[in-house]
């Protein structure tokens, strides 16, 4: 049974996990989110995930995958 008091270092661990997750978010999840959103908004231009990602990189570079128009639109 865990004691009622969290073990020392637990907060640091949770904090570190959070930091790791935020980094992970930026490199993996946000680009996926951008691609998904583009596909939803303009399916004719963006038929598959791969073509969508290529289009974004071609038009606005790799930054477009993380800082594009799309994430600001996502609710």
């Amino acid at each position: 049974m865990p004691s009622n008091k969290p073990p020392a270092g637990e907060y640091a661990r949770v904090g570190l996990a959070g930091a790791a997750c935020a980094a992970f978010n930026h490199f993996i999840l946000v680009p996926l989110d951008v691609v998904k959103t583009r596909m939803q908004l303009d399916p004719k231009l963006n038929p598959t995930p791969l073509t969508t990602a290529r289009r974004i990189v071609a038009t606005s570079g790799y930054a477009g995958l993380s800082l594009g128009l799309a994430p600001t639109v996502v609710g």
Partner: protein
């Protein structure tokens, strides 16, 4: 305690609902303008929503469990998870909706207000209390199926794995190492993520389209009252197949998100000593 941990939980999946003012595409870099308050604002949102979602879910399920005998709980627990998740998300969405309404205005029109309090005041002045709940229904379309499926599938799956599947192979939770328990959480998280992303996909597509329309309208109207975005209109325009745009991409994203979220949730649960579930 719950709220504190939920801040980090929400960091994981909160990118969906992020206050992404930092990445607003307008020419004058809003990132510079908004940078000092961005992280704080995000943190507030995550804390608010996480506290609502997980707090209500846990306490609802734990309270119901305490009123039932073990046999009845076993028979009814899936239904209880379902109801608890629905109530939790209803509360969370209602709490989140005002932030979301203000966020869309600020993102769409950088001149709308200099900072959050000013934006809140302006919405209040121009549209009244209803202005804060404009996006409530579309948000609910996505969030309700998402949370219900995610929490129900995860809770039921973890219960099944520890109570039925692993014991049938002679393995018991008490003898398992921490890392193998975390692996169970991650695996169940992946399944919960994929199923919940499919369940909420139509809602997500509708929400994306509506937000995009509102954004365009807000940019054109420059702070004038926005037209009512219609869920029915968007569904008609998209058709059945259109509702499933981006399903695969979103499933991958949600699976990763969900696995990570429940991993952190596990760590948080041990330290916060939550009563319910495993």
């Amino acid at each position: 305690m719950q709220a504190y941990h939920s801040v980090w939980l929400q960091r994981l999946w909160g990118k969906f609902l992020d206050v992404r003012l930092c990445s607003s595409p307008s020419a004058i870099s809003p990132c510079q303008r908004d940078f000092p308050c961005c992280p704080a604002r995000r943190l507030c949102r995550y804390a608010l929503q996480g506290a609502c979602k997980f707090g209500v879910f846990e306490s609802f399920a734990a309270k119901t469990k305490s009123t039932m005998s073990t046999d009845i709980w076993e028979a009814r627990k899936h239904g209880v998870f379902l109801k608890a998740a629905a109530v939790a998300e209803l509360v969370a969405t209602t709490a989140l909706s005002p932030w979301e309404a203000v966020r869309i205005k600020m993102v769409a029109d950088p001149t709308f207000a200099r900072h959050l309090p000013a934006a809140v005041l302006r919405v209040w002045r121009e549209e009244g209390a209803l202005g804060f709940y404009r996006g409530w229904a579309p948000l609910l379309c996505k969030q309700l199926p998402y949370t219900i499926v995610q929490l129900t599938v995860f809770s039921s799956l973890v219960g099944g794995v520890y109570e039925t599947w692993l014991p049938s192979m002679g393995i018991h939770k008490s003898t398992m190492s921490t890392s193998s328990q975390l692996a169970v959480s991650a695996a169940c998280g992946v399944v919960a993520g994929v199923t919940s992303s499919i369940a909420s996909q139509p809602g997500d597509t509708v929400l994306t389209r509506i937000n995009s329309q509102l954004k365009t309208a807000a940019a054109q109207a420059k702070g004038q009252a926005l037209p009512r975005a219609s869920i029915v209109g968007v569904v008609k325009e998209l058709g059945w197949s259109g509702l499933w745009l981006g399903t695969g991409t979103r499933a991958v994203m949600t699976a990763l998100l969900s696995a990570g979220m429940f991993l952190v949730y596990d760590v948080a649960r041990v330290s916060s000593h939550a009563v319910c579930g495993s």
